[in-house]
Symmetry: C2
Subunit: 389 residues, 2 copies
DNA sequence: ATGAAAGCGCTAACAC
DNA sequence: GTGTTAGCGCTTTCAT
């Protein structure tokens, strides 16, 4: 049976074209402003004024022109517009990892807000998040006359290095996702540090003391921030040694395992953690996929969640509510990150039109939300109650 | 503690601009072909020829021009190009549901292939998959001079109705994702029918007889195809009544429940199915999310998977391998759907340049693959062996 | 092999 | 209020 399951391609020529594409594509060429003008008995300029909703057109003329536009189904050419006004009403979006939940949500938000404001997003996907061959993207975007750029590639390693070198010569405004505040740059992000704190504090509040951490790759800004949230919460609660050398507290390194965001690394992470500290009672896991790996492994090892081991994840992927048990996790307003970044970018574009130096970059940080489900709460009734509140 | 978890926005003005955007944006305006020409001591046409790799330029001249281009970091304006040649090298992509795994994979494939071929995708997201206000998208795309259109909105209800009315007047080629073959249209899709058969046959091969089906919404083409695969496999195996009235076989309706793609509907679906046919031994679930809901509910009801109930999903989302137990499912080559659709579209663009009627639309169907994991195999050793093969 | 001129479709600047 | 003129930056004839 398995031999049925190839990945080959079947190909058929479809039946003959019914009507097919319009053959007279040349004669039916795009209606232009000239034809509209002629038809309406006005100059192209007047049509242009109507198109752009300028006030200095007589009511009657406007009405007539509008009527012709509609009748001819005229659509102004953006290319021509873009050329003559120097504005394209398109935005360059450079993203990474849109097959993952977070980035794709953010992209949705970007598109939605852009559409509402009359912009179209040109999509570029980075192959390697850490790559520095940024110039290609930028050049391409600029050659397409984008009015602004959204850099939605996660901050990894020093893949922000190019900013130092090239940002100042960018002729259009740009905003950045998921990276720490930087002077002179507009950044839009979720407060991952707060997320880490919320998750950890929630476990602390449940009375857990030995709380492990499985991080994402530490060259990611997000992973570092979440880890920092855990560390500060733990330190403040007096649960780990803070580096000041309280000999009576366990060293934080005992409780930290470095994952890769992938479910497999959650599996491995739990094993490591348990080897090192069999007394771990709870774990804050850097994302939901790894949490899934942890839960599967816990089950394999005969550990019950949350009785033997409490778990909190990060992201609130749609599946998280259907894990077994349902996963407590930190939800990020990523759609809003997308929306906000477009709003901010268009603001900059508007201001920058007059004077690029007047832009006043902003750091916008949106707040995550703790979603409490069963995986972290010993008393089920409590969980349900809390979740419903 | 929960009161900490608002969704409000924190906003800080960033520190004063370090260097800020280039203030002399006007003086530093984009380099144009003229400046390159002047600098290289040739006419603009010659530069244009070099840009377009035309043969009729002397080696030496070409070298010199290239040198200047590089030195000035010149990027030709796509807007101007687009205007004068009537080609934009951009593609309109209308998609839906990119926060889900499938569509986002396809989108990745589109972007990748487009980039390789020198095209940039303009992204449009449908709000309502079934909406028929298609005209807005099309108009906008056309006004932006896209060279072709990829329609990646799933076929739902009669949301293909517009095609009848408007397709023939489209001035550019278009390809469609996830819909059945249609005369005169290029479609690229995965053979969902085959997927349904593979999944069901696999269960039949395991010796299961009472095999339920939880479908996606039946107004989706994909859901119907998958269901059809189940029905044919079941009928051919003589497990359900085929409509020819074999009184000794159970009617198919007994085993079908209609879901919504959402995990919650898997939950509900299982309950319904068990109420109706407590003898169900296995279920083919229309997607992995619903399968997750089924598995959670099965567990709540004390059913062991696969001992008491075997499950096969559809999609092979990344989490599926980490469900408990790992989920047998049908993997779709959606990235390839994206790539292929761009390849096909650009082919059509090329051909259509000369003669739109010569395009010869094609139906391209890619094959899904059954991924066998533990959720459908009574004997674990067998599953591992099969999966590894 | 190279250049001059015209034009793609629109808008900005200036008449009237 | 409306029309005229001149580009935007590139490619396409058509000369040479």
């Amino acid at each position: 049976m398995l031999t049925l399951t190839g990945a080959l391609t079947g190909l058929w020529a479809a039946r003959p074209i019914r009507k097919g594409y319009n053959r007279q594509v040349n004669s039916r060429k795009r209606i232009t402003i000239k034809q509209v003008a002629k038809e309406a008995g006005v100059s192209t300029q007047t049509v242009s004024r109507v198109l752009n909703d300028r006030p200095d057109v007589a009511q009657e003329t406007r009405r007539r022109v509008r009527e012709v536009i509609k009748r001819l189904d005229y659509q102004p050419s953006q290319a021509a517009r873009s050329l003559s006004r120097g504005l394209s009403y398109s935005l360059g979006v450079v993203a990474y990892g849109i097959e993952f939940f977070g980035p794709s949500r953010a992209l949705s938000g970007i598109e939605r807000q852009a559409a509402e404001l009359g912009y179209s997003p040109l999509l570029y996907l980075a192959r390697e998040p850490a790559s520095n061959d940024v110039a290609r993207f930028i050049d391409d975007l600029l050659s397409r006359n984008v009015d602004g750029i959204i850099w939605a590639v996660p901050e990894i390693d020093d893949n922000r290095g190019w900013i130092e070198a090239q940002f100042d010569s960018l002729p259009v405004p740009a905003v950045f996702h998921s990276m720490g505040p930087r002077p002179g740059l507009s950044t839009i992000c979720v407060d991952n540090y707060l997320g880490g704190r919320l998750a950890t504090q929630h476990l602390i509040d449940q009375g857990y003391c030995h709380i492990g951490l499985i991080t994402g790759p530490m060259d990611w800004w997000e992973a570092r921030e979440r880890a920092r949230g855990w560390r500060d919460a733990m330190t403040e609660a007096g649960l780990i040694e803070s580096g000041l050398g309280q000999a009576n507290l366990p060293p934080q390194q005992d409780f930290i395992v470095y994952g890769s965001w992938e479910a497999a690394s959650g599996e491995e992470g739990l094993n490591q953690l348990l080897d090192r500290r069999p007394d771990v009672e709870a774990i804050f896991v850097g994302n939901d996929q790894m949490a899934l790996g942890v839960m599967q492994t816990a089950r394999r090892r005969g550990l019950h969640i949350p009785q033997d081991l409490a778990i909190v994840g990060f992201d609130d992927i749609p599946e998280a509510a259907y894990f077994w048990p349902p996963l407590t996790t930190v939800s990020q307003p990523l759609f809003d990150v997308g929306r906000t970044s477009v709003a901010e970018l268009t603001r900059m574009i508007k201001v920058g039109r007059r004077d690029m130096s007047a832009i006043e970059p902003q750091t916008i940080m949106l707040q995550p939300k703790l979603i409490i489900r069963e995986s972290s709460v010993r008393d089920k009734a409590a969980a349900v109650q809390v979740a419903g509140s």
